[in-house]
Symmetry: C2
Subunit: 466 residues, 2 copies
């Protein structure tokens, strides 16, 4: 029973304590009280009943109430001093600012925007088998902070895989596992900035994110033109940059491949400028007409920092990538990676090692190549059928294609009409660093994630949306 001299303010509020529940009575009372204070149902300054009175009212022991009160005093929700009643504290958070609604991503019925792979084809069962093996076999070290460069077993398997599939020359000692291209490149840019590098050449047109990441790390991106043979190495040399980030296997967004002459010239440039080539190995393994060209890194491991990931090979959501570092940069990249909490989940790393060792990645890519090749054909056919004045650039590869629009067709007009028709597309200008009046408009279309009928329908809508 409540002491009559002590108003039981809590009586207006319903306290339900569950004697059968998994939480103790003390935990329940504490949770309930904290919640009342926080939401303002118990306002600042409110005097609480004495522990004795509340215990009697609730039919519980006084010790339980005292425990809850003292916990909430310790946390700052209540105040109490010797002899004075317990009250709701002033800084009780009860006047929390209302929360703004989160930004909603635009949704399209057909999303042709990004260069992601077919996520529905992700081999969940096979990946699970590798995760299971990893959880069974992962050494204890792997569950701790581990080697900041990543799990040794994964770095070993990457050496074998990238040597075989990409013609790269990885050394496990100089391989740094990261969470994907973006993290790897960000870490590299910060390390370069620390060494005093101020500018980095980027391809133009080129992936907008190259520029964003470089800028974020304090480097000035310097656009260097790309033509049908890839980056213009003479223009690169003239830029005076010491570093350049390139996409040699399948240039984004133009879709061209760096020619043999340019590859040699680029490596010569690196030697002459005493510079560094950053090789973005995006969607390099998806070539449909011939075997993909090997990685530049294999030719000059001390001149090339190679960054790749499972994003297009498997799924970006796995957050697994790798940096093949020149030996002179490994230390700095390792330090930066540790500070960036770099090497993704140890379990995922060991799972990827297992997946590679079982040949599952090869199997998956072998399965996906004809799928993507057919989707690309659907896209090309649709362009030919519906957009006679447009043209598709680049080699048969990857999960995106650049469609150059006919003369006088405005990219923005097409893109907004497409959005209204439910088709999300990305304009080429997003990936142009210099906006030239003379440049033709274009759309960078990602076809990786869409079935052939859906792709056909999307292209039809797109064509009619002009």
């Amino acid at each position: 029973m409540a002491d009559p001299g002590e108003p039981v303010v809590l009586g207006e509020l319903l306290v339900v304590l569950d004697r059968e529940g998994s939480a103790t009575l003390h935990e329940q009372l504490e949770l309930w009280l904290r919640d009342q204070v926080r939401t303002g149902r118990l306002a600042t300054g409110t005097r609480l009943p004495s522990s004795r009175a509340l215990a009697a009212a609730l039919g519980i022991s006084r010790g339980v109430v005292l425990e809850a009160y003292s916990q909430l005093v310790a946390e700052g929700y209540l105040t109490a001093s010797q002899g004075a009643p317990t009250r709701v504290a002033a800084t009780s958070g009860s006047e929390r600012a209302p929360v703004a609604a989160g930004a909603l991503a635009t949704r399209h019925a057909y999303d042709l925007r990004s260069g992601v792979p077919d996520l529905a084809a992700f081999p969940r069962e096979r990946w699970l088998r590798s995760v299971r093996a990893a959880l069974r076999e992962a050494p204890l070290d792997a569950l701790g902070d581990g080697d900041p460069r990543g799990e040794p077993r994964l770095r070993d398997e990457l050496m074998r895989y990238l040597g075989r599939a990409r013609g790269a020359a990885p050394e496990p000692e100089h391989t740094v596992v990261c969470a994907g291209f973006t993290q790897g490149f960000a870490i590299l840019c910060r390390s370069l900035r620390d060494r005093g590098v101020e500018r980095i050449a980027v391809e133009d047109p080129g992936w907008a994110r190259h520029r964003a990441i470089a800028e974020r790390a304090g480097l000035e991106p310097v656009p260097v033109p790309v033509d049908g043979d890839g980056i213009d190495v003479a223009a690169l040399a003239a830029s005076g940059c010491e570093c350049a980030v390139v996409t040699p296997a399948h240039q984004f967004p133009s879709g061209v491949v760096l020619s043999a002459e340019r590859r040699a010239a680029l490596l010569d440039w690196a030697d002459e400028a005493d510079g560094l080539i950053v090789e973005d190995d995006y969607d390099s393994e998806l070539r449909y007409d011939r075997v993909a060209v090997g990685a530049l890194q294999g030719l000059a491991p001390e001149r090339v920092c190679h960054i790749g990931s499972v994003s297009v090979r498997l799924a970006p959501g796995l957050r697994l990538g790798w940096v093949l570092s020149p030996s002179w940069l490994t230390g700095e990249l390792t330090y930066e990676t540790a500070l960036a909490e770099g090497p993704a989940s140890a379990v995922a790393q060991v799972a990827l090692a297992d997946f590679l060792a079982r040949g599952e990645l090869d199997r998956h890519l072998r399965r996906m190549r004809p799928v993507y090749r057919r989707r690309r054909s659907v896209l090309l056919d649709a362009v030919a059928r519906w957009w006679p004045r447009a043209s598709v650039l680049g080699v048969p590869a990857g999960v995106f294609a650049l469609v150059l629009l006919g003369e006088g067709v405005e990219e923005e007009t097409v893109a907004s009409a497409a959005a209204r028709a439910g088709v999300g597309v990305e304009g080429l200008s997003a990936h142009r660093h210099r906006q030239l009046d003379s440049a033709r408009g274009g759309l960078v279309l990602g076809f990786g994630g869409m079935s052939e009928p859906a792709l056909e329908r999307a292209m039809e809508l797109l064509a009619s949306a002009r």
Copy 2:
């Protein structure tokens, strides 16, 4: 048969083509040739046999050789021009710099250094069950780039869990999943720097990494003293800083808990200075004498940026953490997280959501608390028995304890003697920002990962090593 006018230089080198293997003959030949060039066994300028001659020598079709040659020309390992023989290119990477041996981490028989949990107790089977559920249930979006703040389902579960277990007030809209405290704090520091913040108060003594991360992001760490009640708020106010990073639940390395008065004062300071408190929620849930104090964030969500992770709760190797952001910072943190490839593996995120929803984290912590409590007792007993002049600071909590050495005992002397005896320990001075002559030496001992007998033996060795 080789053309007599064409020296078959490859004859000296053994080519073994496996007709039964999974790789095609062309792939095998290409791999072999690339390797010969790269290792320098085929030197720059070496003239290769004609495709006809090599095909005859190897007993394979000429098309296979042509395919391999043209691939390696495209990659830059070989050069060829109309009419001239194919040669090993100059930039062939055959003069690769030798690679330095990687740094070897020092290994100790007994490692008392870091505050990691008991990794052997990691519930692998239960985690696997959640991974399996995640792989079955994860939406396709989750395998793509997803929401840069992290999987919605995990942000929902974190709201429930952290509300319940930490007295925090998380809003899913303002929760940003990250790869751990380090990444979360690094991202926050970069965002603050971008807003024009130049200095951040850090606890002294305090975790050395707070300082390192802040400095790396371009902020100046300003040490503010910690006493038996936690950070000295008057000194903080006098510092003129607008931001402070604190460990209220269990101060590292002193082991004290921020007192109720100081909690209130700290929140008042944040209001008066219009400042931000960064709450590092390290090992907050491991309190052995009473329920842990709730998170500061629950009291003032717009004044506190709360960062936590599964590192001590489960295992650092999972790379999963969370930032509860004030609503006004969420946008910037989200952008930074996207650029840092923040939200760890989507599969792991959904797995953690499942793990939380099943109550597995509660179960694991309930199981571990008595284990750690006993280990801490072993450590305290050992100090009392062998080091009468030393004293252990802090409350019964967490996976580390600070042992203050007796007057006149040199921290470095003890640490190096211990290392020689096979015991790795970390000196307190590593976590002191200002080195005071008057300060007593101390050791920060991590006891989480060691069984009681091992801990006893380690402490015995440590005591005899003085």
